[in-house]
Assembly symmetry: C2
Homo-oligomer: 234 residues x 2
């Protein structure tokens, strides 16, 4: 445990609940037993179990729905800002450094997607490509759809780690660039389309190269973005 | 906020404390004001502030030392298992997939380290290389020192993201391989040494190649490790 010198009772109980989720092979969306059942199973008081559940909710392992119950989260254990970028002061350098990481990862991921994507996954990638294009053409904020597009590509890579990593390394650009004002509209539309069609054609080299192109345009944008606002918080 | 349908008061207060840490530019190890001061600043009751601090501790943003106070954590916001690997059932595929990610990232990181490492950083990398070697020779568990060695290389890459990512992608191998019984002792010692000397000589290509070699040995180990125990929990 890295976050505390010694474990409190609720922390120990939250570890117990994680073990329970794993043992029972509960899946995202599955409901946990109620407080009193958990309290009995763990041999603890209900108020301590309630504390433990709050800790698990803050780590996005469970989601508490008022009046309904406690459920395993959609992507359990993947927290908001898992690498603590909030606490990096120099957001510009952070955005540049995240893009360097994207250069290392994403061309290979695009190639894997071209190799392994199913027809259903290709349909989803194409739909997100269309939706992002529409937002871009309308001059609206496409950040969220953009991350969904790249995450869909990651999912079809069949690597278990990649879809969990993609949203993290994509948190960079909106940190200090107002993308709705971006001069990069045409290049983003074209390279997204090319990545999509290369994956659909199962052409790994073309997918990889289209992704390199996409990242080069992004790097140019970041390097020339001095005139845009430089946000200093997430 | 991805982890809850609606924010509770302690959640809102914990966001307030994060803003305070950022505004006051508190650094790792810095002490936060006590509960009553925070309660006054945030216009909330002490018990709600106490709840908020517990949430921040569970996200490793602060560390509570009994009888001493609340401090900004050493690596604030970087939680244990930030990508939720605990909840991936197939630990063998997870280890293989993490190694694929290491292939994409670490040769480039080694090259950056060769380009940018200071004399002090080279000294630290060499010390960790020596310590890992001693543990390997003694047949002891070297996992922790090994991660420290690779993290030290990451630190000297000067990329802000890399040192936060390295411990995460290194959590793989010990998941299902008992490294103390590893047949890879000689190869690990030799490739670690070669990486270290290449960085010390500021030879980026040699550092990159030594890292590739290191990863190839690791991949061979993972692929032939069927006979070792296959742990099913973190």
């Amino acid at each position: 445990m890295i976050h505390s010198d010694e474990k409190s009772l609720p922390e120990k109980l939250s570890d117990g609940i994680v073990k329970y989720i794993l043992k029972e092979q509960l899946q995202p969306g599955d409901r946990l037993p109620n407080e009193s059942v958990l309290a009995e199973q763990l041999g603890a008081g209900r108020s301590s179990v309630r504390e433990a559940i709050k800790l698990l909710a803050s780590r996005n392992i469970v989601t508490v729905r008022q009046g309904s119950g406690t459920y395993v989260s959609a992507r359990p254990g993947v927290v908001e800002d898992p690498l603590g970028f909030t606490f990096i002061q120099d957001k510009r350098k952070l955005a540049e450094d995240l893009l360097e990481i994207r250069f290392l990862l994403e061309p290979a991921i695009a190639a894997w997607a071209a190799a392994y994507a199913t027809e259903e996954e290709i349909g989803r990638i194409r739909k997100l490509c269309d939706e992002t294009e529409q937002l871009l053409k309308a001059g609206k904020d496409h950040t969220e759809k953009d991350v969904e597009f790249h995450t869909a590509i990651s999912m079809s890579s069949k690597n278990l780690v990649v879809p969990r990593l993609t949203p993290v390394i994509h948190s960079a650009v909106p940190l200090f660039i107002d993308l709705t004002k971006s001069a990069l509209r045409r290049e983003t539309i074209d390279t997204h389309r090319e990545i999509t069609e290369a994956i659909a054609a199962h052409d790994a080299v073309r997918a990889q190269d289209a992704m390199y192109l996409h990242l080069v345009y992004n790097r140019r944008l970041i390097r020339t973005a001095d005139t845009l606002h430089s946000g200093d918080s997430l």
